[in-house]
């Protein structure tokens, strides 16, 4: 199956909280994408970047973290022992321990929805079109097309290489 990417373009995000809302709605009120606000009121939704070279996946002592067919970094809840090492190595502090599930939980790129043939909800509902989902080339094209509509300060020409690196490594490109 083709590798899918979920890319959040911070230059396009308007901080409206729609992603957090719909993610919380489909996950019993616990969103896997959360908006952080900086001192000068920049809004940064943070979710799992499903990094190509994911430190959590490498460090997990019980191999509870794996990559699924479409490229999402997932947790096998039955294997998780709750050691929190993944949380310590994640550059974004994404994984959190759920007392209810008794395992680490985080964004799984809407695994259940994908099984039903639906795309990740945050990307579908984002009014600003800041969250793109799909194969890399399509994501790249959509990000470029959308950025062209931004204010000049947020248009920022990026090379294919830069964007590819940003999309696939989770490196936030501002």
């Amino acid at each position: 199956m083709e590798r899918e990417y979920l890319y959040l373009d911070y230059l396009t995000c308007i901080g409206c909280e729609t992603c957090e809302t719909v993610c919380g709605f489909i996950h019993d009120g616990n969103p896997y994408i959360r908006i952080y606000v900086t001192e000068n009121k920049q809004y940064l939704p943070i979710n799992c970047k499903h990094c190509d070279d994911a430190p959590c996946l490498r460090v997990c002592p019980t191999h509870a973290i794996y990559r699924d067919e479409e490229g999402a970094v997932r947790i096998a809840e039955n294997k998780c022992i709750g050691c929190l090492v993944c949380l310590q190595v994640c550059p974004y502090g994404v994984p959190f321990y759920s007392l209810k599930v008794r395992a680490i939980t985080k964004c799984d790129m809407c695994a259940e929805r994908r099984e039903e043939g639906l795309e990740p909800a945050c990307s579908l509902m984002c009014p600003a079109e800041a969250i793109q989902y799909g194969p890399l080339e399509i994501v790249l094209e959509l990000v470029r097309e959308r950025r062209a509509k931004n204010i000049p300060e947020h248009q920022k020409e990026v090379t294919e290489e830069e964007l590819a690196k940003s999309v696939s490594s989770g490196y936030i490109f501002l």
Binding site: K41, M125, P127, E129, R146
Partner: protein
Amino acid sequence: MRGIKFSFLCRSKPEPTGKRVAIVGAGPAGLTAAGYLVCKGHAVDIYDKMPEPGGLMLFVIPEFRIPIERVRLGAKELEEEFEVTYYPRTKVMEGSREDEGDEFYERTVRLSELREKYDAVLISTGIWNVRRIGIPGDDLDGIFSPLELLFWIKGHKMGYVPKEKVPELENKKVGIIGAGLTAVDVAFECNRLGAEVEIFYRRTIREAPAGAYEINLLRRRGVKWFELVTPKRVIGENGRVKAIELLRTRLGEPDESGRRRPIPIPGSEFQVELDYLVFAIGMVSTPPVNGGYLATDRRGRLIVDGRHMTNVEGIFAAGDVVNGPTKVGRAIKDGLYTAVSIDRWLRGEL
């Protein structure tokens, strides 16, 4: 580009339940609620006074934040895939009141009539009025409401507003009072159209609701930022705005919002010459009632219970008309959870 997928919870239309829901107001709350309800098999009709669905997202928020096509395609998908029927240019009202954007409606329908015709009604009419400041001279020519100004600019782009309606802003001095997201959006659009923009705010950039990031972006583009000033009166000439008289302020103790209260300094008056003035100091909820039928609070917002229902059984309300001005995401959240309530109520579970 793809549209917002309001029906993100399902792939296709399920078996119809036979229940019909009317939604008044096709903004983020109304459209999201429609998306949920059609996924539950209810038939949805949406009434809106504007010529097409989308609400403030489509007609007021600048294109660089929310693309026009993104909203249009989303609304269209509901119509084509889920058989949602739109009734544009239709104002639903019990009683009467003038709001912004009223020039577009051609028909009126009474809210009580909808309640009789449908199994449930959702009100998501948002905030289509602007708070007035109440200082001498605030009714002079050349003073715009932020909604109408943003709407003229975007509406012209969309072909609803003739060119002559959009004020010629090039090299004109535009003053904006306020530092919320609306004020910032007005500043961006006026700056883009070549105006010399000055923003006046009674607190400092640290307290500004729009935040220092957005304001500093504007400052780098040449917008002037005046803080710790409050308008005292507008000075006119031949009925037109000519200048604004401002008072300097200092910050006192925190008020109920937790921000330090601005206290005007007597005798510190000074004037700034202007061609246009925009008071972007807040927006007011516009429920489809005026004083009667549905209960509202003293700020004009609809009062709802834990089921998101108003005092009339079967009439629900969601979005900014209940909460006052918020963000798109909060309106979507309220629309979504209200739709859950409506669905449960229609099934007799609530």
